[in-house]
Symmetry: C2
Subunit: 210 residues, 2 copies
DNA sequence: GCTATTTAGTAACAATTGTTACATAAGTAA
DNA sequence: TTACTTATGTAACAATTGTTACTAAATAGC
């Protein structure tokens, strides 16, 4: 654990804090596709990402869902911070987008460290800041972009996160994440293929040039 | 200033912090409709709302805009917190929705107080939390609701903020805030009037029952 | 091999939202 | 009053998105 911790958080946290984290933190490995947080669940610990990526999804009560943003190494989940403070249920669902390693820190430590370590305070504030900015970006997409533009952006984002020019998703999966229907996604993807921007295959989409 | 400060923040902050705020804070009154923060502007101080309400708008580069949420007494602007930290430009525009009183606190004090006062830390964290939740709610509306449902929600929210059953807005103004066109709003409002939910007049809309 | 399931393609149509154009009414200012 | 500006109503149409239905291809399981 120490190594991953130092690599990702060594430049952020002072040694004393790093020590504390490695003492109370629990290293966890989440395989791709596995759930980390369920909507409505109470949160007892806070994840610090070491490697991989986590997809944060929003669900409403009618089975609708929407991709909010991705977390990568060095990130933490602002919603968790938020739940810890108020001891409220999670408003989001977190799913491993890739095989992911993270350190779980018990929430009792949070307040203690916030008083004790300036670097921890800054990290928490910066996390909130980053998440707010990502929420803004998501909101921009939904409010100002048309579905074909959103799809393009989605393909680009996904490719960045997975560091792979090939996106291994079905049309149905993409439709869920953009909150639309499979037929709409198939239609728009075909248009992108005809424009020479992507190449469509069963279960995967190869990005030529966005 | 002391009075408004104590009324709205007395239960949150310890006396020492209240003292500091009243020493360095600047009381400001913003008339309805006046701008407080412009998109792209650098922020030098942080507003603590005493009375009134502030409307937070998102602008994109093509002149599109969208209402994000309202701030009320006891609130502060998370985007400001965020800008102070990173010394970045404002991503939003803030406009007084009502005649508004607020205390402007110089940003230099922020980090100092974060180290010094637990109540300040909690206030800042809770503000971030509240803003994230409001962003989520806005996102839900855009992603999951149709325009007529969004309009209904808008009328209700607006009425709550102004504490008035009559909403003094033109159809065009509403259209800007929901990022649609005037004709669409006129159409849907007329439908709501025919359903007996509202009464339409020039320059105002009276809520009968939503 | 065969069969069932999953995935993708596509047409036809419906619903929603957006646009253009014009008419009318209400308020404003001279 | 008259002329002008602003706000609203409405029709007709366009564009986008959503839905249903059906087809065929690829894959998985046997």
């Amino acid at each position: 654990m120490i190594q991953g911790l130092k690599n990702n958080y060594g430049h952020l946290f002072e040694d004393a804090l790093l020590d504390e984290i490695s003492q109370v933190g629990l290293l966890k490995e989440i395989p791709e596709g596995h759930k980390l947080i369920e909507t409505g669940q109470f949160i007892k610990s806070m994840p610090l990402l070491i490697s991989g990526a986590i997809k944060i999804m929003r669900d409403d009560n009618d089975g609708d869902e929407l991709l909010l943003y991705f977390l990568e190494s060095g990130d933490t989940c602002a919603m968790t911070l938020t739940c810890c403070l108020g001891n409220t249920k999670s408003e989001i669902r977190a799913v491993a987008e890739l095989d992911t390693k993270l350190i779980m820190v018990p929430i009792e430590k949070m307040e203690e460290w916030t008083g004790k370590y300036k670097s921890w305070r800054n990290f928490v504030l910066e996390s909130y800041h980053n998440r707010l900015m990502e929420m803004l970006e998501t909101l921009d997409s939904i409010a100002f972009l048309k579905m074909d533009e959103r799809l393009l952006k989605y393909l680009g984002d996904k490719s960045n996160i997975t560091k792979d020019q090939v996106i291994y998703s079905t049309h149905q999966e993409i439709a869920y994440e953009l909150h639309t229907s499979r037929v709409v996604i198939s239609r728009l993807l075909k248009k992108l293929e005809n424009q020479g921007k992507i190449e469509l295959n069963r279960n995967n989409i190869k990005i030529i040039s966005l």
